[in-house]
Amino acid sequence: MDYVLRTFGLSKAYKKKNVLENVNINVRKGDIYGFIGRNGAGKTTLIKLVSGIAAPTGGSIELFGSNDLNMQRKRIGTIIEYPSVYPNLSARQNLEVYRRLYGIPDTNAIDNILDAVGLGDVGKKPAKAFSLGMKQRLGIAAALLGNPDFLLLDEPTNGLDPEGITEIRDLLIRLNTENNITMLISSHILGELSKIATCYGIIKDGQLMEEITAEELSVRCKRCLKITVDDTAKTASILENQLHTQNYDILPENVVRIFDFLDDAGRINSELVKNGVNVKSLTSAGADLEEYFIEKMGGFKK
């Protein structure tokens, strides 16, 4: 499997306080990796370490399968913390600065990118007069210059109105599907992220709690009946032969999840008991995305 980014035991401490601890992250080629965590959880720090503007205190980073990070970082576009723009320059001039810096010979590249992010008609207006949403778009445009293979976007929809959020979301999906750009997007707006992410990393207090694909997540969030029994093999046989369902899975500790009969738990219970299975517990389970993430991130702060 091709990985665009992998970290191995990545750690960062500021003044002896660990803000990132032993993080092993895996971003596959083509992924839109949703990086989720509370404010201060360590999302921006990880992006800073990967992009090279901060140095790790431990661990290592691998980009595009290589340890030559400076060379590989030329293939990355970033927005870190907030869109960084030259306030007295227009959108076009801002991008011209980066076009020259990256040595891009094609002067039309700027027009194409400005059109793509919806800033094609802002003219000579200086960036300091832009709204936050326009600055975000300009930041994304700067990140896109040079056709990067991997985008690191730190809260890219911050400050955008609902229409702007939709536009940026569509743009990111288009870039991912049409240009095959891999992305790591940090955010705490779970609803937005869940609409585009193909996998997730959940970070809490500097530690990566879980990495999960969108498919796995939808299964975990699916409503089900969770039954703890003494004999899972016998339970499986009853489910298939007598209740005629294969929509179940078996978890460790003699737990069986059944995704059918959600409104008829009593029937399952009586069938199992009738066939000599000892049912220790039977509960309804499942959550929506937001509940799942909040649970993983440590619940609501009191």
């Binding site: 090279g52 870190i80 960084s84 810096l101 700067a142 040079g146």
Partner: protein, 307 residues
Amino acid sequence: MINMLRSDMYKMFRAVSFRVLLITAAVICVFSAFFVNFSVKTTLEYQEQKRIEAESGETAPKDPIAAAAQDSFMEGMRLGFQSGMEASINASEQQTGQDFLDMEFTYPTVFEGMLDPLYGNSLITMLTAIFTSIFISGEFIHGTIKNSAARGVSRTQLYISKLLTCMAFSVIILAAEMLVLLLTELIIWEPGVFDADKAVKSIIGLLLGMFPYLAFISIFTAIAFCVRSGGATAVNIIFVMFGGLLFQMASSAASLDMTFAWPGTAMNLTAKYYENTWLAAAGVIASIVYIVLSSLIGITVFSRKDI
């Protein structure tokens, strides 16, 4: 590296500070040329007044027009200048025994006085300090340095590109000053006799004076990269204003005559007394040491600190 320089130069030419500081330098150059003119005129008037007093044996009556204009700014300035000049002439006469009335004062001519105001020019140093601080700290304040650093550009190259851009600014502002000065002088003074030998010497002096000037810029750059905020401007201005004094105090405390090693002094000495080989060489060597040392410090700090 070339790409980085192209990018930094593009930013420099579009920076508001670039235009504001160029205009400021031009205005001050025009003012300084007129001030030289004004001071010669005032000196000649004062000499004439003293001559009349000496011939008649009594104090000459005050010019009625001058008296009427006494409250005006220029007259106030003229009187202030005259009293200052009187004190300095008295002191000078006591020292040399030379009579003020025998001294010959003439208006400078363009070719003779063209480059004089540029020697050891602290104004230009101050303006360059301001530009360097704003240009570099702005990248940190607006966060734009992150965009460059995150694309695998080496910190050393980033630093050197900024240093070279600020050095380019210093050369541009110096050239602009020379041009404005020349144009102003052509308007207010006689051209005079063009002495090719003197012109060549002046240019050599000016070129040698560039070394300490660039040493200053190197120090400003290092300070801006270490401070990384708007405070860099204040630190650099304080450095220009009081750095020389602190340096003198330190060298006195160490009982060493290191005056020439301060870039401000070296700038003046190297440019004016470049025919003294030892002095010129010492100024140039000290400047190179400053450039190398301050760049090493700046690069080390910039490379090691997170952005």
